[in-house]
Structure formats: C-alpha cells, structure tokens
C-alpha cells in the first residue's frame, strides 16, 4: 500500500474555535501523525482564500486525502468535498472533524477542549487513512410521477408537474377528486364559493393530456428507491362504466338501499348507486358494493334494468395496476377529530351539535338544506348559534396538544355566513385566542365582530346538554369574569384537524416517517417542509400538518418544484458510501437480508449481494453480521476500531 498523504486543515473559525482550542498546537499534533503529509491552520477555512488554500495544498503536496477540523459537517462537508473534487481527488476522501459545535462551543477549559479536539481530529485522520476514493453512483430515473390524494393539494401538485411536461398519475381513494375543499361552502377570507374556485382545476385535471386519473383506487405496495419506484395500485370496481354513464340519475330512483351520504357528513342520505356530488370528476355514478344488496340480478338488479345507457356492469373486477415512477407526492389530507371522543360536549350524541364540515354542508347551496341554515333535528331556523373553538386542539392532557391553525378563521367565517343567512340570529363564539395571521385574516375576523355583530366570549365551555328542545351551553367569559349560560338552537364545534384515515398505513407502505401527532414527517421543520425523510417522496397539504388552503396550494407547488428538479435529468447521483460484502467470509445466513430496512440485500448463489442503488449505507447489516462479512464503505469496522483507539489515546 502506498503511503497515505493526508492534509489536515485546522480552522480557527475566527475566535469561535480558536478562543477555546489551541489551534496551532492542534495543527502541530496532527502533523506528527504517520499518515499526515501536510498540516496547517487558518482563520476561516471556508472563506474563498481558505478554500483556495486547501485546493492549492492538495495539488502542491500531492495529497490524496483531506481532514478539515472545523464546524459541523452539516455546514461545510459539501463545500470541502467539492474542493477536493476540484483539486482532482475524490470528494469521499475528505472528512470533517467537528471541533466547534461538539467541542469549542461547549467546553470552557482550554486544556480540556484542546485535548478533546486532538482526539476528535486524530480519529478523523485515522479514519480517512482508509477511505476509498469513491465516485457517486449514477442511477437512471423514470421521469413519471405519482401523486397520492386528489384533494386541492394533490390537484395543484399534479397540475404543476404535468404542466412542466412530466407524466402524472393521480391516485384518489374516493370516487371523485376534490377532497374536503369540495365540501366547503365558502372559503376565508374572500368568501369565495369553494366549489367555484375548485371545479375549474378539477376539470383541468380530467382533461390534461399528461395526467392519468385513477379514482376509487388505493396504493397497496411500493418498492424501489428515489428515481425508480414501482407502485402497485388497486383500482376498485365502481360497477359503472364512466365512458357510458350519462348522469341521467334514473338508477338512484329505483335503488332500494338508503345509507348516510358521506359527502354531506351524514346529514342527508344516498342510495347504494350514487354520484358523490353532481359535478364529480370523473363524471360518473358509482355503485357502493358494501351497501348494495348483492350485485346480482337475483338479489336486486333494478339499477341495471333502468339504465338506458347500459353503463352498469356487475361483473367488473378489481384491477391491480403496476406503475413505475421516479417520484411520489403524498397529499392524503386530513379528517376531523371524531366528535365521539369529546365526552364533555355530548360525544356526538346530542342533536344539533355539529362539526365544522357539517355546518359547511348546511350553508352550501348543494348541501343538506339547499343552503338554508336549519336545525337537523326539526328543520327550524336556529336563532341562537354557539360556535366553540379549540375543541380537541391545544389539549395535551386529553386530546391533541397542537393548534389546528384554521379553526379561528373558519369559525369567524361560519359566524359570518350564519349571520348572512339569518340576519336576526345571534352568533356566539367561545374562544381562547384568535389566531388570524394570514393576508386579510385579521380584518376578516374584525368584520365578523363588528359588521356581523358576532359575540366573542373569551372562555371555554365546560359542558353542553339537551334541554327542552335546545342545547344548553355552560361556558364562561373570562374578560368579565362571569359564567355564561346559553340555550342555543345549534352548536358548531371547531374540532381538531388530524391526519386522514389511512395515513398510518400509507406511511408504512411508503416507508416515510410520521411525527408525534401522526402527521407525515418533513425532513427538516424549517428548511425542508415538503420533503419526507425518504428520498424521492414529497409531502404537501394537511397530511403534513394543519394548514389552510393558501398554504396547501403553496406547498403543493413547492413539492412539484422539488419533483421537477429531481427529475430534470436522466440520471441521479446516489451516494456511494454503501454496503459491500466480503464474499470469502459470507456464509449466506441471510441475517443482513432480514435486518436491512431497505430490502437492499439479496442472496445470490449462496452469498449476500447488495443492490447499491437501494442501499442507504445505514450499517444495520454490518452490526448484525456475526462474521464481519459486510460493512459500509468508508465507515468500515476497521475504521471504527481505529477511531475508538484514537478517542482513548491508544
């Protein structure tokens, strides 16, 4: 083996490091290391002159590897690896020794800090002595994208990606796209009709030549890695041919089965054969198998009998479709926290106590009461309506610890809409705070209070119950110090937003993480809000956390931008610090195969073989193997062994 020639570059970082660590002594100590051919210190190694000096030193001294002792690798590992490449050596022969965040900044005693910095640096030097000159692995990519979830987030993302020229497959589990935004009446702060602003986008999706729409479908399995995913999608049978269906509605007239209508959140009913709402996309009816009497002319068959278009086909089968895509956008949205869990507010059993989406359906012209605000119990117009904010949110003891962000705004909206519908009615809002941070939001809330004369009471409601045909609400007004009792005709609860049903399953299928509240986890809370921790999979919308429509649309476009960037060339660079098998030691026991979180190892002819594209270099295989037959390049067992020795001054 030719003698290693490592260059050590000790950064002062101004006084950040130099004030506590004796940097010139550190440089001298490193010069004594057997494999070090060059060692110096400089005030700001990451500055232009600093970086240039590294490049010069590599060239002039024939260095084959570099250790920079400085700040955290999170900041400048890429910088110095790029310098190494520019100087003509592999970027992977450059390692960072963190003597700032993990040393100079956390210790006061100069002697102790310097001693520790010497250990850390020596450890890096010994490691780098065995680093191989690796080059990134080029991986060809599939320039197609899958968007999971057909609400506003999925729709926006799909349109942005398709408009950039990439093929998009939009998968939605319901029979129509549109999501919860479709159920809204008007949106804040403009009081735009929700359907009016959403429908054009829905139609654009259905007509877009680059978008393949798969509704009534669910993702079952995902294999592969960034640039090359293989997705198995189950397309459930609707039993209605969407090309043939004329939307004549004759079938619903004869269908004997009546079930609650999910689109109206149970406020109305529908038949087994139904269209979720009149302007559904795709424009077709759907036969709900679970409600239908039996898909069989002997059991019923009435809908098929009356269908002049001949669109109904009981013999439709579920289809499994396999799609190869290079990136996936997850936009699976939210659901409301179940009212049944709020025991103090009736646990869903008190009549005329609604959640926000149900109230939207009452307000909506296409909804349960044709746009009139009426009590579900007796269809009378409510004259006193109580709106309660923070139901289930901001409650770490019993429900959700977080704030659901949109409730203050939509409660103000609900109060305003109610007052517009019932001008002589009284609207009361029980609140803890008013969070109205968006553009025009604060003004909107003020108008609710002043123009629409909504009565805002700062306090909580301790309980509510049915009494004499009304809902008695017991609350408090902390600003006056008085208890408040209201006999309301209707109560609307601003329930917390939670990740939609199925989020846990889809996260497992995609192998992406979830945060402590079950929302999909972003890679970095500040700087990477739309990337998941798994390469090639992006997040947007309420699936990632509670948010309103403008933020959702922004995130959807952001995720689209990331996807477009990722797939902008035909190949991707995959980091080469992956696992390597020592065939002479491998006995084919498959423990590494089982341990690998990415299923990147398989057995071939009795020995383990690593798929370098799937391997992320985590090292689980290496720690599991009993016979040192597999290890991660540039973090080998021997390297760690020598780092341990360096840390103990052996």
């Amino acid at each position: 083996m030719t003698k290693k020639r490592t260059g050590v570059f000790v950064c002062h970082c101004g006084t950040n490091i130099a004030a506590t660590v004796d940097v010139s002594r550190l440089a001298k100590e490193m010069a004594n290391e057997e494999t070090v051919a060059f060692s110096k210190d400089y005030v700001y190694m990451c500055s232009d002159p600093g970086q240039n000096s590294v490049i010069e030193a590599i060239k002039e001294n024939n260095l084959d590897s570099v250790v920079v002792t400085c700040c955290s690798p999170n900041l400048h590992e890429k910088t110095f690896r790029d310098n190494a490449t520019r100087a003509g050596i592999s970027g992977f022969t450059c390692e960072i020794a963190n003597i700032r965040e993990q040393c100079a900044w956390v210790h006061k005693d100069r002697g102790e800090a310097t001693a520790k910095a010497i250990k850390i640096s020596r450890s890096a030097v010994r490691r780098v002595a065995r680093n191989k000159s690796l080059e990134p692995i080029a991986v060809p990519v599939t320039r197609r994208v899958m968007v999971i979830g057909g609400g506003i987030a999925g729709i926006q993302s799909a349109l942005d990606i398709a408009n950039a020229g990439l093929e998009v497959i939009l998968v939605e589990k319901l029979a129509t796209i549109g999501g919860h935004m479709l159920q809204l009446s008007e949106t804040f702060p403009t009081l735009d009709c929700s359907q009016c602003i959403l429908s054009p986008k829905m139609v654009e999706v259905s007509r877009h030549p680059k978008i393949k729409l798969m509704t009534y479908s669910e993702v079952q399995e995902v294999t592969g890695a960034v640039g090359n995913f293989r997705v198995k999608v189950l397309q459930k049978p609707t039993y209605v041919d969407p090309e043939a269906c004329k939307l004549c509605d004759e079938c619903t007239v004869v269908c004997p089965v009546v079930v609650p209508n999910e689109h109206d959140l149970g406020l109305t009913s529908r038949r087994a054969i139904h269209i979720p709402f009149a302007q559904a996309i795709p424009a077709s009816y759907t036969l709900d198998e679970s409600a239908c009497l039996g898909l069989n002319p002997i059991r019923c068959g009435k809908c098929k009998d009356v269908c002049e278009a001949g669109a109904i086909n009981y013999d439709m089968l579920p289809k499994t479709v396999i799609e190869d895509v290079g990136a996936i956008v997850v936009a699976t949205g939210f659901d409301l926290y179940p009212q049944e869990k709020i025991l103090e507010y009736g646990a869903g059993n008190v009549e005329d106590v609604l959640d926000g989406l149900q109230f939207e359906r009452l307000c909506s012209a296409s909804g349960a009461t044709k746009g009139h605000v009426l009590r579900p119990s007796d269809r009378k117009e409510p004259k006193d309506v109580v709106f309660i904010q923070c139901v289930g949110s901001r409650d770490p003891a019993q429900h959700c610890a977080y704030c659901s962000k949109i409730c203050c705004m939509y409660t103000a909206k609900h109060a305003r809409l109610y007052k517009h519908h019932v001008p002589d009615g009284r609207a009361y809002v029980f609140y803890i705070d008013i969070r109205s941070g968006g553009k025009g939001y604060e003004e909107f809330v003020q108008r609710a209070m002043e123009e629409d004369e909504t009565i805002y009471l700062r306090g909580r409601v301790s309980k509510l119950y049915r009494k004499d045909g009304k809902v008695r609400v017991l609350g408090t007004d902390t600003l006056t110090g008085q208890n408040v009792e209201i006999d309301a005709d209707m109560v609307v609860l601003a329930l917390a937003m939670q990740p939609s049903k199925g989020t846990e399953e889809i996260a497992k299928v995609l192998k992406i993480g979830r945060d402590k509240d079950g929302f999909l986890a972003e890679a970095h809370p500040k700087l990477k809000p739309v990337e998941s921790v798994t390469g090639g999979i992006y997040l947007c919308g309420a699936a990632q956390g509670p948010k309103d429509i403008p933020e959702t649309v922004a995130q959807a476009s952001a995720a689209a931008a990331k996807v477009i960037g990722l797939l902008s060339s035909d190949t991707l660079n995959h980091t080469p610090t992956v696992a390597r098998v020592r065939r002479s030691h491998c006995t084919g026991c498959e423990m590494c195969v089982t341990a690998c979180p990415y299923k990147a190892i398989r057995l071939e002819n009795g020995k383990a073989v690593v798929n370098e594209v799937l391997c992320e270099g985590c090292g689980s295989c290496s720690a599991t193997c009993l016979r040192a037959a597999i290890e991660v390049r540039n973090v080998t067992l021997l390297q760690v062994h020598e780092m341990i020795e360096a840390c103990l001054n052996v």
Partner: protein, 343 residues
C-alpha cells in the same frame, strides 16, 4: 424405550438404497464407554451404531465438518447425509438450516428421543459407583444401568444426568424425518434456568469476583469454539490468529486484519473473547452443553449462554432452534421490545 435395532435398520436401509451417502451416529468408544461420534458410509457398518446414556455429543458438529470438508475439496454434496439427533441436537440442526448452512432436503434427521432420561454427566457418576470402573451404559426407564467388574449397577437417571437435562423441556426431536422413541415433551425436573436464577442473586461485586476467577483460568485453547456447531465461521471475528485467506483476499486485507483483542490469554482478553462469543450465540445456542463439557479448566460457560437464551425467550419471545423459516434474534425486532433502559 428405543430399540437399537431400529436405529441400525434405518441406517442400513438408507445407505443400502443410496438415499443417503453417510450416517452420522455414535459407536462404542475404544474403552467401551463413553460412546464416540461415528460417520458410517457402508450399510454393513450400521451394526456398529449404539444408543446409550453416553451419547451426549452434539452430532450437528459433524454435519458442519462434513460441509466444510466438501467446500474445501470443492465437491458438491450429492445425496443427503443422515444424522442421528437427540432433541437438543435436532434444534442445533434447525438453527443451522435457519441460517442456510444446510438446505432441509440435504439432511435426513433420524430423531431419537431420550424419553426424559437425559444423557450422562460423567463427573457425576464417580460417587455412585464406589470406585468401580464402568465399561458400558444403558437406558433403563428412569434409571441408567452400568456394567462394571463388580456386576451391573443401577443409578437413578436424575442423579447423574447432565445439568442441562434437568431443565430440559424438549427431549423429543421436533424436527425430524423419522423419529424413534416416545414423545415425552415438556418434562422438567428443575425450573428452567434455575442455576441462572441462583447465580443472579449475587451482587455485582460477587459476580465480578466469580467471573474474574473463571476467566483468569482460561487458556484460550478455543475448545469451546471448536466443539460448537454454531461456531462455523471460517474466520472468528474476535480472534486475530484464526485468519481465513481466500483466493481473493488482497494483501491490504491481510495486513489490515482487525485485532479486536490481544493474543495473550490474560483476563481482560479472555473476557472479551467469551463475551463476544456469548453475543454471537444469542438466539443461536441451544444449550447442548458441549462447550462446558470440553473446557479443560471447567469454566461454567453454560451460565453465560443461558443468560443470553433467557433474555431471548423472556424479553423477546424468541426460542432458538424452534423454526427453520423464522428470522434470527438479532436481525429482527418487535415494536414492544423493552426499552426502559434507554434514557
């Protein structure tokens, strides 16, 4: 009670028909007893096979040796090989198959049940024979009989059986092609891991005292490793002397073997070796007891391996040698694995 003829007939038959190329079993030892492992390849040799309380060896070791021989000689195995396996040994074979060291169809298991008698621990025998030298041993229900110059001696099996047999819960070989003897499972004369529980009543200081004395005696002869069927690794990770060199081993690799421990048989190095071995056997050791039996300085190695086995069973619900198809202990996990020790 197993009729020895059944074992011999099965072996003879399979060899005659060419269904197996060899049978690993026991034959009478050179001094009559104890029995010794034998590998027979001709049908006539079947008459040499014996089955008695001195058949304590774990014959799975010889399966491993057979495979290594074939691998080094670059021969393919051809017909399967048969092994006479006790309940404990059969579990060792299962572990080897779980790790793909053998394909199931390459080994024909002639299971033999000790029917709860266990096998002999020779060191326990001395006090029962009053100085008489035994020349043969035989199973006799709940007793062992010994032929001596002073006539036949009968000794209750539970008084002289190996310690591990006292706690054994699976005397019947669950994995087998053919099984001889009764399925007397679940018999235990002592609570499982009883010796381990007793040991753990010692304080930290007392434990160290104990193990320090044990490992100071260790001479690193590696008999424990040599006799263990699970220690089939070509190169033992922790031992820098035993280095495997293959045609593709580079000069750099040869020069850069990791010396996890020094070669000297000092206490610290011995402990590190034994702890590494215990870790590597976690979930794989079936408590055949051979390591402890062969140790020339009588280190209670079973205690160390039992500790890992009990952790595997009680904390992780994992039983070594129970299933060929399942994942190994350290390559898998459960969502509810204990984690209270983590800050």
């Amino acid at each position: 009670m197993i009729n020895i003829q059944d074992i011999r007939d099965t072996a003879r038959d399979m060899l005659a028909k060419g269904e197996v190329r060899a049978v690993i079993g026991w034959r009478a030892g050179s001094r009559g007893m104890p029995a010794e492992p034998a590998v027979i390849t001709a049908p006539e040799q079947a008459d040499e096979l014996v089955w008695d309380p001195t058949c304590y060896h774990n014959l799975a070791l010889h399966l491993v040796e057979d495979r290594k021989f074939l691998a080094h000689a670059r021969k393919t195995s051809g017909a399967p090989i048969a092994i006479v396996a006790k309940g404990c040994d059969a579990r060792a074979v299962v572990v080897l198959m779980q790790e793909n060291y053998f394909k199931r169809e390459d080994v024909y298991i002639i299971g033999v049940s000790c029917e709860g008698s266990g096998v002999l621990a020779e060191w326990k025998l001395a006090r029962h024979l009053n100085g008489a030298v035994p020349t043969a041993a035989a199973f006799a229900g709940d007793e062992f009989t010994f032929a001596t110059a002073a006539g036949e001696k009968r000794v209750p099996a539970r008084d002289v059986m190996a310690d591990r047999c006292l706690e054994c819960r699976s005397p019947f070989p669950k994995e087998h092609n053919v099984a001889l003897g009764e399925d007397k499972t679940g018999r235990d004369l002592a609570a499982p891991f009883a010796a381990l529980a007793r040991f753990e009543t010692r304080s930290e200081g007392e434990r160290w005292e104990f193990w320090q004395r044990q490992f100071e005696r260790c001479i690193r002869c590696f008999a424990c490793r040599s006799v263990c069927p699970m220690c089939y690794c070509e190169e033992c990770v922790v031992d820098s002397i035993n280095i495997a060199v293959a045609p593709d081993t580079t000069a750099e690799e040869k020069a850069n073997r990791i010396r996890w421990i020094e070669r000297s048989a000092t206490r610290s190095e011995n402990i590190t070796y034994h702890m590494t071995r215990a870790m590597h056997l976690a979930g794989r050791c079936v408590d055949c007891g051979e390591c402890e039996r062969v140790c020339p300085v009588n280190i209670p190695l079973r205690l160390l391996n039992n500790k890992m086995e009990r952790e595997a069973r009680e904390r992780f619900g994992y039983e070594p040698g129970a299933s060929i198809g399942g994942p190994s202990l350290v390559a898998s996990f459960r969502d509810d694995d204990p984690g209270d020790f983590i800050r």
